[in-house]
Subunit: 283 residues, 2 copies
Amino acid sequence: MPGPAPDATRLSRVGIVGLGLIGGSIAAGLRARRREIHITGLDEPAVLDQAHAAGLIDVAARDLADLAGLELIVLAAPIPAILKTLSEWPFDDDGPVVTDVASTKRQVMAAAARVKGFVGGHPVAGAAHGGLAHARADLFDGRPWVLVGGETHPGLTRVGPLVGALGGRTLFMTAEAHDRAMAYVSHLPQIIAVALMHAAAEACGEPGLAAAGSGFREMTRLAASPGDLWHGILDSNRDFVEEALRSFQAALPAEEGSLQGDRVQPLFARANRHRAALERDGE
Amino acid sequence: MPGPAPDATRLSRVGIVGLGLIGGSIAAGLRARRREIHITGLDEPAVLDQAHAAGLIDVAARDLADLAGLELIVLAAPIPAILKTLSEWPFDDDGPVVTDVASTKRQVMAAAARVKGFVGGHPVAGAAHGGLAHARADLFDGRPWVLVGGETHPGLTRVGPLVGALGGRTLFMTAEAHDRAMAYVSHLPQIIAVALMHAAAEACGEPGLAAAGSGFREMTRLAASPGDLWHGILDSNRDFVEEALRSFQAALPAEEGSLQGDRVQPLFARANRHRAALERDGE
């Protein structure tokens, strides 16, 4: 594997495919902190116009071929679109380094097998509402940014500076370990929030929900996420999500009498300890 | 039913039994906004010393009998202690008006049947950590404060001003409706947070949890609640909590293939709508 070229750790020309919440926030973050970086965007014309008007991109591309010659391309579209882009990848091994932001990594890594410069990525950050209008320059500040493909991948000379510029906390994981962890800490919580919102609203109606405290609001905030994004996420991680759902259901008190204080107590105490460890690790 | 005496809507002498997070925050809130109110506290000597030193109470009582002659007594101990106090209630029908702060209301209302001046209460507010040291004057600001016992109960001339002084949002409910709603919006979320924390920590360990985003932290914050408080809450509401658990489990995607995008989509869309209604109603 040849060493990086002398200028390989510089980042001066970046392309972003998909300017929604994540792609738009990457553009906004680079603008705020690395004003000298030239940004090319690719999306639908209306979105490109909006991004251009907001000063988030320098050039609007018409298709992938327009991104030739860039140092780094970030695929920031929903998973099905990322898979399609990778299947039509027009560049050879000397083409741009590529990374993505998909919330699951096994399917994307498989689709990217023939793209030598690909480093899988997942910035673990989001917001209540999607779309370019909600993009924020600080969306990734201090948040985990998982990279898949190994700590010695030459493409890291481009992807590393990107994550660094945006304030992300780099974590290296395998696609398998990433997807399994996300099933438990992201996809399962999402499904739980949706089911809780549903069960409570059906049972209580508005008068009951009016008595809800901040705990309930927190526990159901994820239920406001746009459902269409979740199509691709759940489809691409179904085995691990099903495992996580089973583990969660096994942890719920289910048998007759299991809600009695003395039987619930050990479960609560263990969860207290786990949660305290989570807080120590950097809340 | 005689009308209130001329001075019955004034509140000048209040007793608080139990100076933990809730009782302490009631004292702190009254101190901050109604400095003229004289507060008598009843708790263990060490807690009373602490409350006195913090300027939260004027007088430390030794037992219930010391609270004779007050206008309002607030029972702010855990549920088993509230039930015990009510069973030993030493005052007659002309004694102080009484209210409580218990998170479930059917058991308490039954125990208070012979206490004529009793108005059940539940300020729906909490914090990550219990105890007087975490008491806050603004804990109840803008939060629901459920009152049980009817909108014409004469005791409301004392309890109403208390809730008003602390900034609570009064909601009248029956004990039954309150307990059922709380099963869904408080007790079920608590159990879910505990089970999710448990399942994720067991499956992922620290490396996986390090990749967790803010959604997971939100969804497990309740798992930090002290388990001992939950003994009494779950014990006193077991039927409704079991119903809520069943409804929630029925709302989870369980069958083979139910995680496919086109089948998950309607569930997500419905939860989106319910959640939007919750936000409109005053988040």
